[in-house]
């Protein structure tokens, strides 16, 4: 059994189990630490204002970043999150195929799949080679049309690699300036993300060589690292995507806007 077999056939149930235990642990702590206290009467505000306030609670930090930290807006938000993490993880053609294999329901997203490169889908069509299985048909004629010029795995991966590198560089600069604003978890998260992105890019391009054993190893490493991310997600800063962001913004809205009426 090589690393690819391990990643595909052995690791998944273990990863899911660790992930679920972690989620239980993290959420359970909120219950454990909860303290009941009498609260002050809330200030009455119109529902419409509260609803706009709720949306703004999520939007305001974006506006503030755009206003005051253009570098972070482009590098961390656009390149890393919007162009990088979300479409690359959830919509990249190969990933849609893989997730559909594990979670059949996921195949509803197949029409939205992003091809791995600007030429991959058109080449398949133009070369007249009929795909070997029905499954891959969905990825040939992409819904994105000419948008594949931007929406393709190669470009998105490169942008995401730039975004992660920007954040690593930013941390190093901060350390040099003795701001100490770097925790061990930051390095773990960023290094892991970079390794996943680079190994994924290499696997897609059959790098460093097209030899099958090397390909299986690189792809196996890529999937194993991604599984490591999922397994450790509840224990790291990646948790922000699952819980911290939603809870935090809702709590802030509830505290400042709903209870205190700061609108």
């Amino acid at each position: 059994m090589d690393i690819l077999d391990f990643a595909i056939y052995v690791a998944p149930p273990i990863v899911v189990a660790i992930f679920l235990l972690g989620v239980g642990y993290r959420l359970g702590r909120y219950l454990f630490f909860w303290k009941r206290r009498p609260s002050a009467p809330r200030r009455q505000r119109p529902l419409t204002k509260l609803a706009v306030g709720l949306v703004m609670a999520f939007v305001d930090p974006l506006i503030q970043t755009l206003k005051h930290r253009k570098g972070d807006f482009v590098g961390a938000l656009v390149a890393l999150h919007i162009l990088g993490v979300i479409p690359l993880i959830f919509l990249l053609g190969q990933h849609v195929a893989m997730f559909s294999y594990w979670i059949p329901f996921y195949s509803v997203l197949r029409p939205l799949a992003i091809p791995s490169s600007i030429t991959s889908s058109s080449l398949t069509v133009a070369s007249g080679v009929i795909p070997a299985s029905d499954m891959s048909w969905g990825f040939v004629n992409t819904l994105w049309g000419p948008l594949v010029v931007i929406l393709n795995g190669d470009l998105l991966a490169i942008l995401a690699i730039l975004g992660v590198s920007y954040k690593i560089g930013d941390k190093i600069v901060r350390l040099v300036h003795r701001l100490g604003n770097a925790r061990v978890g930051d390095w773990y998260a960023l290094a892991l993300l970079l390794a996943i992105l680079v190994s994924g890019f290499m696997a897609t391009h059959h790098l460093p060589s097209g030899e099958i054993g090397t390909y299986r190893t690189v792809l196996g490493v890529h999937i194993t690292l991604a599984e490591l991310l999922v397994a450790t997600l509840p224990f790291t800063k990646f948790w922000h995507f699952v819980f911290g962001y939603w809870y935090g913004k809702l709590h802030e809205w509830y505290d400042l806007k709903f209870s205190r009426g700061s609108l």
Partner: protein
């Protein structure tokens, strides 16, 4: 314990205090920070040094929590920077950070995860106080307030008694049971912004309210212990205030100080006392707005450009962001909002006790109290630097005021008034500063 000492045992034992504050909201503040540093962009103290960014200032508390509340950092503290400060220098650095925060809440609204670093820093202050680092003047006030001995000082007593006799001349009835409105002021308000108190009294008379007020100060301001993270002193003073209110049994408690006393009475008191209040808490601006709506009050339109500095506690944390604007627009012919007005309104730079402990205030207090406040070399250096940094932190607000072209700046917080008087002077911006009730009472028709 002096500022020159370092007592490792005390430092470690202070951890119990910090841990008491670890509830589910604090757990979120502690664990869900992704360390992105975005909170820095609006913190007034980042201007004085990036090391004063909110995440940096809250980090010491995280270090303490990590050691106790997370499994892996408990096993490998060195890897996660978990644990207490190990030297006097480290402890002094922590204090420096903790007193570069006004608890203005700008980090709270700016953070993409709604993390309120200011709240963590407040707990850190309590931890530091227990470790032997609390500014002497602040400690003096906390202790005098908790032991209810504020008026034992002849200077402070003179100020209070002078105000009481003037109020008596105005016909004020003190401690009247079952009055509909109970006006609560503080020794600080009477001492620093007496116009605010007399202005409020004039407004109550004009509105023909059934009202009363205490003849003794219930606190230095609100429990000042809450600014130093002293839970015990805060609870003692809160209980005393609460018992007094229950004795008078008003329907409303009214405040003219829109600084932290407003949020203390309006939002914090039930949590500290552990009871739902039987009275409502309102700010003078709410009474005035209501009276304007009902046509019970009219203002002359004051000439000149007037602007509003929204105290963080009254606006962002108190919900009264637009009410003062509406009222001031009625009472002035040329009202202009400051550029950052709203949820991201800039902080004056001196809140959460900073303006009340910096050297100029200390000198003023020494004069008033007729005593000299003993301060060690380390504390003096700390306070001198704090004053310099406070002026830097307050500059953005002064710039906004200058840009607005206003000749009168109205606010409603004793601390903001005091800070703005120092910062506008330091940057040569010549404006008149007025407390809201004072300004409104002067323009009554």
């Amino acid at each position: 314990m002096s500022w020159e000492e370092f007592n490792a045992e005390k430092v470690r034992s202070a951890e119990a205090y910090a841990l008491r504050h670890l509830d589910s909201v604090m757990l979120h503040f502690f664990e869900d920070c992704v360390n992105c540093g975005l909170c820095e962009i609006n913190c007034p103290y980042t201007a004085a040094g990036e090391e004063y960014g909110p995440v940096e200032k809250a980090e010491p508390l995280r270090k303490i929590y990590r050691r106790h509340a997370q499994i892996v950092p408990k096993l490998f503290p060195w890897l996660f920077g978990a644990g207490a400060p190990k030297s006097k220098e480290e402890l002094d650095k922590w204090v420096e950070k903790a007193y570069r925060c006004t608890n203005c809440g700008l980090c709270y609204t700016t953070c993409p995860f709604g993390i309120h670093s200011g709240e963590m820093i407040k707990v850190l202050r309590g931890y530091l106080a227990k470790s032997g680092r609390i500014p002497t003047l602040l400690k003096l006030m906390v202790d005098a307030e908790a032991s209810n001995t504020l008026l034992e000082n002849a200077g402070l007593r003179g100020i209070w008694e002078d105000a009481v006799s003037k109020l008596k001349e105005e016909g004020v009835e003190f401690n009247k049971k079952n009055a509909k409105y109970l006006y609560i002021t503080s020794l600080a308000e009477v001492m620093m912004t007496p116009g605010s108190v007399f202005g409020a009294v004039k407004l109550f008379k004009k509105l023909n309210l059934d009202w009363t007020m205490p003849d003794k100060p219930l606190s230095m301001r609100a429990p000042i212990g809450s600014l130093a993270g002293d839970d015990e002193a805060t609870a003692i003073v809160a209980r005393r205030i609460y018992d007094y209110i229950r004795e008078i049994n008003p329907e409303y408690v009214v405040l003219s100080d829109g600084g932290y006393p407003y949020t203390f009475f309006r939002f914090d008191l039930p949590r500290i006392i552990g009871e739902k209040p039987t009275f409502k808490v309102v700010h003078v601006v709410e009474l005035v707005e209501e009276a304007l709506k009902q046509g019970k009050l009219k203002f002359k339109k004051a000439a000149g450009k007037v602007t509003w500095h929204s105290p963080c506690k009254m606006g962002r944390f108190g919900g009264l962001l637009e009410e003062p604007v509406r009222v001031l627009s009625e009472a002035s012919s040329d009202f202009v909002k400051l550029k950052s007005h709203g949820s991201f309104g800039k902080c004056c730079g001196g809140g959460s006790s900073i303006a009340c402990i910096v050297p100029p205030t200390q000198q003023m207090m020494e004069k008033v109290m007729g005593t000299s406040i003993p301060i060690s070399g380390t504390e003096k250096a700390f306070l001198d630097k704090l004053y310099k940094d406070m002026l830097v932190a307050g500059k953005a607000k002064v710039d906004e005021i200058r840009e607005s072209g206003a000749s009168v700046v109205v606010t409603s917080c004793v601390g903001c008034m005091h800070t703005l008087s120092m910062t506008t002077q330091a940057y040569g911006v010549n404006v008149k500063l007025k407390m809201l009730s004072e300004f409104l009472s002067e323009n009554l028709e």
